[in-house]
Point group: none
Chain length 202, copies 4
DNA sequence: TATGAATGAGGATTCATTCAT
DNA sequence: CATGAATGAATCCTCATTCAT
């Protein structure tokens, strides 16, 4: 059931919904939230404007649905990676950053949106996305704090480093091009290294 | 007939022009390029819509004028700082990053624009801004390469570090709040430290 | 295929039809014909939009069905009252007006519709409603004319009084509130008195 | 200065504004508030849709401007007539009703609007119109109460008569046609007579 | 220098309606 | 009997821009 009030969707309906979400992701990514019209999105999805509103109740809602999904999946991916990384702070930090970076590079469109259009969300919607972000930030904060406590990291500003680190990784979208010299995997790995350097791992 | 196509501007004219540019900076910063209308900007500037067109030939031009000025001033500030820093790679890198960061924090609105609305510039205009950015990037690239050559920095990926470093600093705008715990000066200084950590300065 | 074009309706079908008509009456009453959408009506009726069209062939038809029914029942009620009132013009007029007023007050929504949305009916439909109204008007005209002929009423403008009288009573809807000080029965009775005053009954 | 925020209007501007208001009055009268689109109004006024919004800030505002003006002028006309009518309750009542009726017949479009579209006004706007109406009603209430006190009127329900009387007169719009047998002046005069009959003037 | 008047195109959204299931 | 999917046309309103004054 989508946010537009309706009953159980058919198979065709579900497919159409996905096409619309995909089209919106592309459109917002290319032109920004305000720059991408519903007309443009509908065209990309191959439907009429009116039919878009059978699946989504407003343009706002379209944006939030995309951002919400992205932030949840990214958080989940980071959390899972950390859980598998064992106890060593270095391993945990590397795993967190690599997973975070991997999500960024693999879902550039979602993250471009998240970085640049997030602020246009209505307050009510923004909260949901902020929470996911905060949970990731808190996780990394904690890893770094642990590392410092155990003497594995020597940075004098653990919290500031943590924030700047995630800022750096989230904004890989600002320069990464898939046809560039670095593969997604390499980009992610190197940023894991950068993270260790930033915290001054011993 | 825009300002550029006319004779010498009067003092009052110059003041009006500045009011318009300031208003546009605020407006774009709050709502984004597509989200801020000329009407909104004119209201902020306290003039009529039509009068905005006495100073700027189009909305595009308004954006480009802001971004061009910002990127030039930022580059100039970084260059000046580096020139005064002497020969030591560490001192030079610290000076470059601190100056860059300082500009970001002191001109948050300009840089928010630069980070998020830059992509909406027409190709022709974008080039001018890109050039300024590239010159800063090249300068930092060179400092880091020198440092590596002299054995002062041990990073195995000097170019990647350079790019990620500037990304991190440019996006301080994403989280910095003037009423937060850190002063602009502190934020800048710490990012200089982060830079040295990132390049693994000896 | 609308209800009219189908076989005998089921009991459940009849109930649904009534729910739709009730919902439409409410909706048109609250928002007017143009202001009430089929979506709104369907929601009130607790069905889908599409299902509304199983019972009514168009929005126009929905309005006409309501107005037609109302005007028929009102006319019937007035006629019945007059027939039971005997021969005295005063009694007949009082009975007519009281019955007419009673219908108005007891069916405010229908009459609000009738007073305000009637003009949006397509010509073809309007005729049916006009006929019912005209029959009531003619009946009252006749009663008053009789009264004048018999010397029971002294008004010099029998036809004008007749029209203004029914206008006054039909538009009770404009001010009557069920939670006001007057009961429906009282309102009706007083208007019967007003009618006698208007015709200057001896 | 119109409600749409602008500076001093030019002569041409004032003329355009009047054309728009006239067009809206006609349009709302013919099709009702919800039925008359801004497009339709603009066409009638001979301008573009966008230009309508140079003079009026919303469709709501267009309606309220019309209704506000009408109710004010009608009240003023009634008040003036009463003031000139001397002290005799009969003369005063006749004057009030005749003036009221005259306004109705002479401004049928305005009053059709007032009778049928008034309820679609936003609460905030409605209050202004209600006040004008209430003042007229209060004036007539008072005249009738005085007449009853002085023994000039014998109606047992002075307040109810007062309300039904004005209802009757306001809704002359429902049946009056300028090409009918009665002139505006005659219609008004007869309703003054009806008023005296209703209150049972001695 | 400054602004009111004007507009065509387009913004998001809702409309009444149809049809396959 | 009932409904989700779909649409073209229309809704109100705002857009960036021009021009005469």
């Amino acid at each position: 059931m989508t946010s537009a009030e309706r009953g159980a969707p058919t198979t065709a309906g579900r497919a159409m919904e996905q096409r619309i979400l995909d089209a919106a992701l592309e459109a917002f990514g290319e032109r920004g939230y305000h720059g991408a019209s519903i007309r443009f999105i509908a065209q990309r999805a191959g439907t009429s404007i009116a039919n878009v509103y059978n699946y989504v109740s407003s343009k706002d809602e379209l944006l939030v649905q995309l951002l919400r999904g992205a932030s949840q999946r990214q958080r989940a991916q980071v959390q899972a990676a950390v859980e598998q990384a064992g106890d060593d702070p270095k391993a945990r930090l590397a795993a967190a950053v690599e997973a975070f970076a991997r999500y960024v590079v693999d879902h550039r469109e979602e993250l471009t949106l998240s970085n640049t259009e997030f602020r246009y969300l209505a307050d009510h919607y923004r909260a949901e996305v902020v929470e996911q972000r905060d949970r990731v930030q808190a996780l990394v904060d904690e890893i770094i704090a642990d590392g410092v406590a155990q003497g594995a990291f020597r940075t004098p500003y653990p919290d500031d480093v943590s924030r700047s680190l995630l800022t750096m990784v989230a904004n890989i979208t600002a320069w990464f091009r898939p046809d560039g010299p670095l593969s997604p995997a390499e980009v992610a790995r190197r940023h894991a290294d950068f993270a260790l350097a930033l915290v001054q791992a011993v």
